[in-house]
């Protein structure tokens, strides 16, 4: 232990503690800007670049960055001396002097860390006049980039490269023109970007934001010709409350359904239902591949990867075109829902496909891009028309004067509203695997599970591995979140799958969809993600039915419409195929 004095308060901290963390232990909150950490989730951005957290250390010539300086024995730290305050204010003024002064119109207003800093430090005017950086606005279907607002904290760059290994962003140029940019300043959509949106989730300011589709949805609802149905993803209900001042981890499923109805959606359905459907398709596909492999078929591709996460799908299409046959061909729950809605449901409701508008509420930015995949449309009419994030839903409710906290609990509509606990846990890393195991086990072993909860699939470890006893057959599984973890597993598969995996779940975002880019900003507090995860498993435990194949509405739709999982019609509507989207070299004459 190390003795240190911070603002005259003496304390003991373990060796290797930074001044920033030591101060927090002493209840002193030193402001930061570039520093960002997801505790316990393999993510830290500590460039020591913004210089907001500078503190005075007795005996030191210059000020020290609290985020990057470890305490030493006998260190005396001052976090708010006149020298520190002068420096901190000046640094913030400098940042603001190269930042557009448009807080009132900024998407990030109210959630902006720079705005909060300026308020906290009492910045009333910016004494510096000078050149401001200007860049072209750039946007994919998911991510909106206004780099004029970039403060060069490099969080996005770290997220994109270290966490996701997507490699779309890098620091470019040097000196004043430095900015986080794409290769050759190309539009983000023309790069290796996978639209995971984690850059948006971590951006402290309004430089990276989501593409806002609220107005599109409001227009559709207002259009009397349209029947607008909405589906809500599993992770939304454990996070939406945060936007209304509720504690992280509060479950608002019923209030959310009520709110959606107040907004004017004609039908309020649940993506959890199509998650159950996904399990039926994906589980059957897995068992099919296993059966063939056990029968000696050498052409069967194992391990099978999940394919629910569109950022992950985009990732392997762009990075592993040689392994496109490994992932399951099952569409994501969002896409399956869209297919069912525009085919089965529209017919059932007597609505023309073109007159039905399917909206999804997702924790995700990649889903905004996924719905535009050409193969997810019929004659140009998309299966899912618009995807809103959890944050957009909150904005929309607020715009429409609806206070979530005041709403009653309501149920989803039927028949696409009833779900099992298996569908619920899709929201957390390991959840799809667990849901699939619950069904695959019982289908394969033709006997009930001895225990429903698979503890080995749960938790926030980046890569989890386990062997599940399938009635004597050792099923080897792995679960990863963060695509740099997934990359490791893909490299293994490319190298011949030495660990003999059969089934691998991959989610791009921290902790799975609960940490998605469309969720309320967590500002680096990974406890929020943990709380959402706990809520997810709590919701599962409270469900009367917890296995997808026992969902009566799922059983019904197979009976009524699809026949059997992985059958002809489901192949047509619920499965997809993948494309090589890696850049290729073409020789010029």
């Amino acid at each position: 232990m190390i003795n240190v004095t911070i603002d005259k308060k003496a304390l003991q901290v373990p060796e290797g503690t930074t001044i920033l963390k030591a101060a927090r232990m002493a209840g002193i909150d030193i402001p930061t800007l570039c520093y960002f950490e997801l505790n316990g989730m393999n993510f830290e951005n500590k460039p020591g670049g913004c210089r907001v957290c500078m503190v005075e250390v007795k005996g030191r010539r210059n000020l020290a960055p609290a985020c990057a300086t470890d305490v030493t024995e006998g260190m005396e730290v001052f976090t708010s001396s006149p020298r520190v305050l002068k420096a901190r204010k000046t640094v913030i003024e400098l940042i603001l002097s190269d930042h557009p002064n448009d807080c009132l119109q900024c998407e990030k207003s109210g959630d902006c860390e720079l705005q909060a800093l300026a308020t906290r430090m009492g910045i009333r005017r910016i004494p510096f006049n000078g050149e401001q950086s200007t860049y072209k606005i750039d946007s994919t279907l998911s991510v909106y980039r206004d780099m004029d607002k970039c403060v060069y904290c490099r969080r996005c760059e770290t997220m994109c490269n270290k966490f996701q290994s997507a490699g779309a962003l890098s620091g470019v140029n040097r000196g004043f023109p430095s900015v986080v940019g794409t290769s050759f300043s190309k539009p983000l959509g023309d790069t290796s970007c996978i639209n995971c949106g984690q850059c948006v989730q971590v951006c402290p300011v309004g430089a990276l934001t989501l593409v806002d589709n609220i107005q599109d949805v409001l227009n559709a609802i207002a259009d009397p010709k349209k029947t607008v149905v909405v589906q809500t993803a599993p992770a939304v209900r454990v996070a939406l409350g945060e936007e209304f001042g509720m504690k992280p981890g509060e479950i608002v499923t019923g209030k959310m359904a009520a709110g959606l109805r107040r907004l004017g959606f004609d039908k309020v359905f649940d993506t959890d239902w199509s998650a159950d459907l996904t399990i039926m398709e994906e589980g059957t596909e897995l068992l099919g591949r296993l059966t063939k492999a056990l029968a000696g078929d050498k052409n069967v591709k194992l391990p099978m990867f999940t394919s629910c996460c569109p950022a992950w799908v985009s990732f392997y299409e762009k990075n592993f075109p040689d392994l496109l046959e490994y992932p399951s061909t099952a569409k994501s729950p969002q896409a399956m829902f869209g297919a069912v809605a525009k085919n089965f449901l529209a017919t059932k409701m007597g609505v023309k496909r073109e007159d039905m508008v399917v909206v999804s509420i997702m924790p995700c930015l990649a889903k905004k891009s996924e719905l535009a995949r050409e193969e997810f449309a019929v004659n140009g009419n998309r299966d899912v028309d618009f995807s809103l994030t959890t944050r957009e839903l909150a904005h929309m409710l607020k715009q429409c004067n609806i206070d979530l906290t005041q709403l009653p609990e309501e149920d989803f509509d039927n028949p696409l509203g009833q779900s099992t606990g298996a569908g619920v846990i899709f929201g957390a890393t390991g959840g799809v695997m667990e849901a699939a195991l619950r069904t695959a086990y019982e289908v394969h072993c033709k006997k009930p599970l001895p225990r429903i909860d698979f503890e080995e699939t749960r938790g926030l470890e980046g890569i989890k591995e386990a062997t599940i006893d399938f009635d004597g057959f050792p099923l080897k599984i792995a679960i990863a979140y963060s695509l740099s973890n997934a990359r490791k597993l893909m490299e293994e598969v490319r190298a011949g799958n030495p660990n003999g995996y059969h089934f691998i779940e991959v989610m791009a975002c921290p902790g799975g969809c609960i940490g998605g880019a469309g969720q309320p900003y967590h500002h680096g507090d990974s406890d929020i993600i943990r709380k959402r995860m706990e809520a997810t498993y709590r919701e599962d435990a409270g469900k009367p039915i917890r296995k997808s194949h026992e969902n009566p509405d799922i059983i019904a739709i197979y009976k009524e419409y699809y026949g059997e999982p992985c059958g002809h019609l489901s192949h047509e509507q619920l499965h997809t195929h993948y494309f090589n989207r890696q850049s290729t070299v073409e020789f010029e004459k």
Binding site: N161, S170, S183, F184, Q582, S583, V585, E588
Partner: protein, 163 residues
């Protein structure tokens, strides 16, 4: 993602350069040097191909290229003019030499004239401080310059290119 259009011989040469460094990403800067030696500059296609061979993202390659002033993404003129703006040259009036070249060639610093002959740049200290102020024209050092020398130097080099 789009396709990268490049001449086969160029692609082959870049592949060979990368291979000579064992496709080791930590040798990126050496690879870029050799590629620039070969092509005269570093067009985006070349950077994309390098990224592929070294198994790093093109964004990273661009990040490195855009960081270092030695690397150029625009082709230089056949007769590059570079004026030293090291301190020794500066205090002996190098700025006036820059102005004179800029006026005579009718281009700004960093530009190439419309015929692709002269390009104008500045650099930091060529180490010929005894000759300050100094200009490097087509690889040759011209020292102890005054603005009036510029016309002669340009004519002299124009003659070399048959203009």
């Amino acid at each position: 993602m789009s396709s990268i259009k490049i001449k086969k011989e160029v692609a082959d040469k870049i592949e060979a350069i990368c291979k000579s460094f064992n496709n080791d990403a930590s040798e990126l800067i050496n690879v870029l040097h050799q590629t620039q030696d070969y092509l005269g500059y570093l067009p985006t296609e070349a950077q994309e191909v390098i990224a592929k061979h070294l198994n790093i993202s093109p964004a990273k390659v661009f990040g490195v290229v855009s960081f270092y002033s030695f690397f150029s993404m625009v082709p230089k003129g056949k007769c590059p003019v570079a004026i030293c703006l090291g301190t020794a040259c500066y205090v002996r009036g190098a700025e006036k030499i820059v102005d004179a070249f800029s006026q005579r060639l009718n281009i700004n610093v960093g530009e190439t004239d419309k015929d692709g002959i002269f390009s104008l740049n500045t650099l930091r200290c060529v180490g010929a401080c005894g000759l300050a102020p100094v200009a490097l024209v087509n690889g040759q050092v011209y020292g102890r310059l005054v603005a009036d020398d510029v016309k002669r130097i340009i004519e002299e080099n124009k003659a070399k290119f048959g203009i």
